[in-house]
């Protein structure tokens, strides 16, 4: 006897533990298998692009903190870079180095969360995640030292940073950089060869390279699909051309590769941190920039390799104190374009894992 079954429509989210925020997937299921999927976003839309039009250039910086709230430093950075490009402002050498240090710490912290929550999604609930929280906590302490905040830093300024680092910062970071490779070994011991982890991630949610490129996917997801594309190398901004590091890529383009790319990227970030701390020059941490900056009429697009992918700001200036248009190119938003293709054919339990492997933050998707 053949059972006749009709496709079932399931709304996963907006409140679901695996979605890391308010995100909804409209899934069409045949039994347990996904035959169609549609991501539904907008639950966290705050109109940041519109808000930016009513604030001065400096006042927009705290708004950018609220995009990808696990990567506030890099959000600040991408924005100030765009303003500096628009107004042709030169940043002091020391500030560039400090920005690189902050950016790489942020990348480690963001990847820790990506990998840790991926473990949660697989069912190894909280054990790996708490190991990773241990190191993230230290990074948050560093950020608290420099700017007093632990989540929304508002640390970068147009032309540099809000202040120079305090005395205790460098010794603490040096200690952390020396220890971090061992911690990463520890995570790998827990996960990389864990049988259940492998069974749930190997070969799951494959994103072919051509599809990744055509879908404007960036960051670790694109690199896991085998494309060696990292803006720190491809279009070095700030002073990234002075550091030696590699770009890890994946071969199979599955969830496991995305995990592995993130782990290896953390190791590379540690390498960059070592070099940046060694080369850090003395000097000013901020150029003299008027508080009510009026960039010349024109437009600029600046992008950086944020932890989740290419984060870009397209600013249009009409010569006034507020941006005429502030368009944000958010990596999390464009990365979910390919979600449907990754999900189809997999079971609903895998949907959670595949979704987690893209590593999105809803603050950035919805803006």
């Amino acid at each position: 006897m053949v059972l006749k079954a009709e496709p079932m429509l399931i709304s996963m989210g907006p409140h679901h533990p695996s979605t890391h925020g308010v995100f909804r997937m409209r899934l069409v299921l045949d039994g347990e298998v996904i035959i169609d999927a549609e991501p539904m976003v907008g639950y966290l839309h705050r109109g940041i692009e519109k808000l930016a039009e009513t604030r001065t250039y400096t006042q927009v910086i705290p708004l950018t903190d609220r995009l990808d709230y696990l990567g506030s430093m890099t959000n600040n950075w991408a924005y100030v870079l765009a303003v500096e490009k628009l107004a042709s402002i030169k940043v002091p050498e020391r500030a560039e180095y400090l920005r690189v240090i902050m950016g790489e710490l942020m990348r480690i912290s963001s990847h820790l969360m990506a990998v840790g929550f991926l473990g949660n999604e697989l069912g190894c609930t909280f054990t790996p995640l708490l190991y990773m929280f241990r190191e993230r906590e230290k990074i948050m302490d560093f950020f608290e030292m420099v700017c007093g905040q632990r989540l929304t830093y508002n640390y970068m300024r147009i032309g540099g940073l809000s202040h120079d680092i305090p005395e205790e910062f460098l010794p603490a970071v040096k200690k952390f950089v020396a220890e971090m490779p061992h911690y990463i070994d520890e995570y790998e011991q827990l996960l990389s060869e864990n049988e259940i982890f492998l069974a749930r991630t190997k070969g799951v949610g494959i994103l072919p390279q051509e599809l990744a490129i055509s879908s404007s996917v960036t960051g670790p997801v694109l690199r896991a699909s085998g494309m060696r594309w990292d803006l720190r190398k491809a279009d070095p901004y700030s002073i990234y051309d002075r550091f030696e590091f590699d770009i890890p890529t994946g071969k199979v383009s599955d969830v496991y590769d995305r995990y592995l790319v993130r782990i290896q990227e953390m190791r590379q970030s540690v390498r960059i941190l070592e070099q940046a701390i060694k080369q850090l020059p003395p000097g000013e941490a901020r150029a003299k920039v008027p508080l009510l900056l009026r960039p010349p009429v024109g437009e600029a697009y600046a992008h950086i390799e944020a932890p989740k992918g290419e984060l870009g700001f397209y600013l249009v200036s009409d010569g006034s104190i507020a941006p005429y248009r502030c368009r944000i190119r958010a990596p999390s938003f464009t990365n979910i374009t390919a979600l449907r293709d990754m999900l189809i054919g997999w079971k609903i339990a895998d949907a959670v894992v595949i979704f987690g492997s893209i590593d999105i933050v809803l603050g950035e998707v919805d803006r």
Partner: protein, 146 residues
């Protein structure tokens, strides 16, 4: 380093294949007529040695007299970039051909600009609001909204 291709060179290449498509040229950008946008985008994607295989971003900008749609393009193969623009003079009914069939990444980006700036992308497979709800009046990123 990503090389920003000169607008002039690209404009002459576009002019050879699609005459009268280019409206104006700047250092790093080319503005084309919205009717020919799709042909131009296809040309940029498929011409050897240009091969813009990656769509970085789509932005809609409301200049009150007209609406401009800006495409940031990159070629991962050759590591060069270009800013392609198009203009919709009719602000009440701005229409631009969709480029989803060339770059899948345009799917959400076009829906977003449709939602917030109110540009209609003709030929988009699923053009509906993405952030705001169906039935919402107006497009918030227009300069005269509020």
């Amino acid at each position: 380093m990503t090389v920003a291709l000169s607008g002039k060179e690209i404009a002459s290449k576009i002019g050879e294949a699609i005459p009268q498509a280019v409206i104006s040229v700047a250092d790093m950008s080319v503005t084309v007529k919205s009717e020919q946008l799709f042909q131009v985008a296809k040309l940029l994607k498929e011409t050897p040695r240009l091969e813009f295989d990656f769509l970085v971003n789509i932005s809609g900008v409301d200049y009150l007299d007209y609406i401009e749609v800006v495409y940031h393009l990159v070629s991962l193969k050759h590591n060069h970039s270009l800013v392609l623009k198009t203009v919709c003079p009719d602000r009440d009914n701005p229409v631009v051909p969709s480029v989803v069939s060339l770059w899948r990444g345009a799917d959400f980006l076009e829906r977003e600009e449709y939602d917030l700036v109110g540009v209609r992308f003709e030929g988009h497979p699923n053009l509906k609001r993405i952030y705001l709800w169906e039935g919402f009046q107006g497009h918030p990123l227009r300069r005269d909204y509020l």
